[in-house]
């Protein structure tokens, strides 16, 4: 599958080349020390095509995704700057988008954002001026039509050439509607989509089959989200406490079947099997590896899943 | 204290049960303290928090509501509503520093004359233990 290249994004080039893409994730620190970003980045360099830099994930104050993204790029990664609709209105968002591109950001991931109720500032006022699908439209208009939401024109050299990302969660409800919501993101102009962590492979297969049927995978690159299960405890926690995530009993039984100190290894084995299936699954263009606070395991996993070396494009 | 404390108690009694039970207790010559003033209400669903508040303002040491056994209300759920109101008001008076024990809800049937006497004794003992209403003390003064 080859498509017209719209930006300078490495991720876009890898995807357009038809190679199976790999993206990672890096959570900025809850303080201002830049070295922490560099330390997390070193596990990812050479192992991913682009790395998502989360934007105050779970509504906890962290170093901004733009700043941490630039720090990561200094280490040789390509940042995929996340932007949530929770904290900024359309004025601030467009301003930050212009600034981010000017400073060398090529990828943006548009998200609604976790509600602040979960975060460290539940007393704050949220914004939600526009939603994540509207944000996709805003960026597309800036890039392709050369205008801001106000109608203000951008000169050709001043148009942010951003590769536009979105998220999808096949495991949220109502199940039958999920693919239709993704269709809205595609209609809004999203270039690539990254999913929530996948454990329920049956449900994911059903979802992808629908997306392929509807022609969505012809228009947008779908990346499958992978988070290896570190332990039986984590698997149970994800199953019972994270809304929109289902962990099948077969995985839980596999983790139960091995000694406690071997569970991480088994979790990685499961993840590698999933990755193998994604490589063969119609419509899946790559994987999104979310190893939150487990970044140092990325080199092992990409090696075991035969995802390295990454293509130079 | 020179005089012995005789609690003043107001009982809001449903005509279908507690009030008849009180009658029966009387005709059975059962002994119970005479410091209870019974107020006849058509159903404990008629009980309103303001009635209890007014009783306290007027110097009552304790107030209770006596209705039919749960599931036997003549008006289906009047006694359940009364129970909710009593629970609500217990919390409210507690917030202003008044003991919630001064307010109670009881359920009995018309045929339970002895139970009526028992309730009066039980509640009087509770109020004697809790002591005179602080509102009454200042009312007299």
């Amino acid at each position: 599958m080859t498509r017209e290249i719209k930006t300078n994004s490495n991720l876009e080039k890898v995807l357009a080349s038809g190679a199976f893409a790999v993206t990672g994730e890096l959570g900025p620190p809850r303080h201002a020390a830049a070295h922490e970003v560099a330390e997390k980045a070193k596990h990812l360099v050479g192992n991913v095509d682009s790395v998502n830099i989360t934007d105050n994930q779970t509504a906890v104050v962290r170093m901004s995704s733009l700043a941490a993204g630039l720090l990561a790029q200094k280490e040789g990664l390509e940042a995929n700057m996340q932007m949530v609709c929770r904290d900024r209105n359309r004025i601030a968002m467009q301003s930050d988008l212009l600034g981010a591109y000017a400073l060398g950001i090529n990828n943006i991931l548009c998200l609604s954002g976790d509600h602040q109720k979960f975060g460290d500032h539940p007393q704050s006022k949220n914004v939600f001026d526009i939603d994540s699908i509207n944000l996709i439209q805003v960026i597309k208009a800036m890039r392709d039509d050369g205008r801001l939401l106000s109608g203000q024109e951008l000169p050709p050299e001043g148009r942010p050439k951003l590769f536009i990302g979105g998220a999808y969660n096949p495991f949220a409800d109502p199940e039958e509607y999920r693919v239709h919501r993704v269709a809205k993101k595609v209609a809004a102009g999203v270039d690539f989509l990254q999913s929530q962590c996948i454990y329920d492979m049956d449900r994911f297969r059903r979802f992808m089959a629908r997306a392929v049927d509807m022609g969505l995978t012809e228009k947008t690159y779908f990346l499958a989200g992978v988070t290896p299960l570190k332990s039986l405890g984590m698997a149970r926690y994800m199953k019972n406490n994270v809304p929109g995530i289902t962990v099948p009993d077969s995985y839980i039984d596999r983790l139960k079947g091995v000694a406690k100190d071997k569970q991480a290894e088994e979790g990685i084995k499961i993840a590698c099997e999933q990755i193998q299936e994604f490589k063969e699954m119609k419509g899946v263009a790559g994987v999104h590896m979310m190893l939150i606070e487990w970044e140092h395991m990325v080199p092992t996993i990409v090696k075991e899943a035969k995802l390295v070396p990454r293509p130079k494009v | 204290m020179s005089e012995e404390f005789e609690p003043r108690i107001i009982a809001f009694c449903c005509q279908y049960c507690a009030y008849s039970a009180a009658d029966m207790a009387g005709s059975m010559r059962l002994q119970y303290p005479c410091n209870v003033e019974i107020v006849l209400i058509p159903c404990t669903g008629r009980f309103d928090v303001i009635l209890a508040l007014k009783a306290f303002e007027a110097g009552a040491d304790g107030v209770y509501v006596a209705g039919c056994l749960e599931g036997n209300c003549h008006f289906l759920d009047g006694n359940i509503r009364a129970k909710q109101r009593v629970a609500y008001l217990q919390k409210e008076i507690q917030k202003i520093g008044v003991e919630p024990e001064r307010l109670a809800m009881y359920n009995l049937s018309a045929s339970q004359g002895p139970r009526f006497a028992e309730i009066v004794n039980e509640f009087s003992e509770t109020i004697s233990r809790v002591g005179p209403s602080p509102m009454r003390k200042n009312l007299a003064a």
């Binding site: 976790d114 969660n169 | 303001i50």
Partner: protein
């Protein structure tokens, strides 16, 4: 209607601390219907305040009066003779419009809000109220199966449901229904997925509070 609830008694006690004569003013509008500030609730609060003072042997007069509405000057005018009795505090038991209208009419009085004004909503059942409107000033519920995502979605999404919708409830709490689950389910049941496919456009918030405090002038009604 406007849904309100009474402030905690301690906060109200704080308003009248050291005062000996206060007036409690109820409202027969929305707050009567939602059992927060009608004649009955005025009676209960007045009684609680009196009991509290009586208990401590403190002198306190609490007078009670309920107006037809506190959001109309002609009714607020009815307080004139009460205000002449020189109260040290006037506690309004209306939504926050009430104490503001009383303050405007009687600027020298010390007026306090005894209710917290919560939201625009309706009664799901006796004793249960839920938010249904955010007064954005440009109603679009017909586009969403007759349901308002602006007030009823935690993130006011126009293109939901988000990835946190699980089993019909919102990610913020199992007590909060996901309105987008209901909207999407209705669209699918009615076989209207095609009509519903277009992206809902970006909302213009100028008619909402974001456009500044709002005012409506109806020329044909103004004298």
């Amino acid at each position: 209607m406007i849904i309100a609830e009474r402030k905690p008694i301690d906060e109200i006690k704080g308003f009248i601390e050291g005062k000996k004569k206060v007036l409690l003013v109820g409202c027969r509008g929305c707050v009567t219907v939602c059992n927060a500030g009608g004649t009955k609730e005025v009676g209960i609060l007045a009684s609680l305040l009196r009991l509290d003072a009586q208990k401590e042997g403190r002198e306190l007069t609490v007078d009670e009066f309920t107006l037809e509405r506190q959001c109309d000057p002609e009714y607020v005018e009815e307080l004139v003779e009460h205000v002449e009795k020189r109260y040290e505090a006037i506690l309004s038991m209306a939504c926050s419009v009430g104490p503001q209208f009383i303050t405007r009419r009687y600027p020298k009085e010390k007026v306090y809000p005894s209710l917290n004004t919560c939201f625009i909503g309706g009664a799901l059942a006796h004793g249960i109220w839920a938010e249904h409107c955010q007064a954005c000033g440009n109603c679009v519920i017909h586009n969403f199966g007759g349901m308002c995502p602006i007030s009823r979605c935690s993130k006011s999404l126009l293109n939901g449901p988000c990835g946190g919708s699980s089993g019909g409830v919102c990610e913020i709490s199992k007590e909060v229904e996901c309105i987008w689950h209901l909207i999407a389910t209705k669209v699918m049941e009615e076989n209207r997925l095609d009509d519903f496919a277009p992206v809902q456009p970006i909302k213009d918030w100028t008619s909402s509070r974001d456009g500044g405090p709002r005012k409506i002038v109806r020329e044909e009604l103004v004298k």
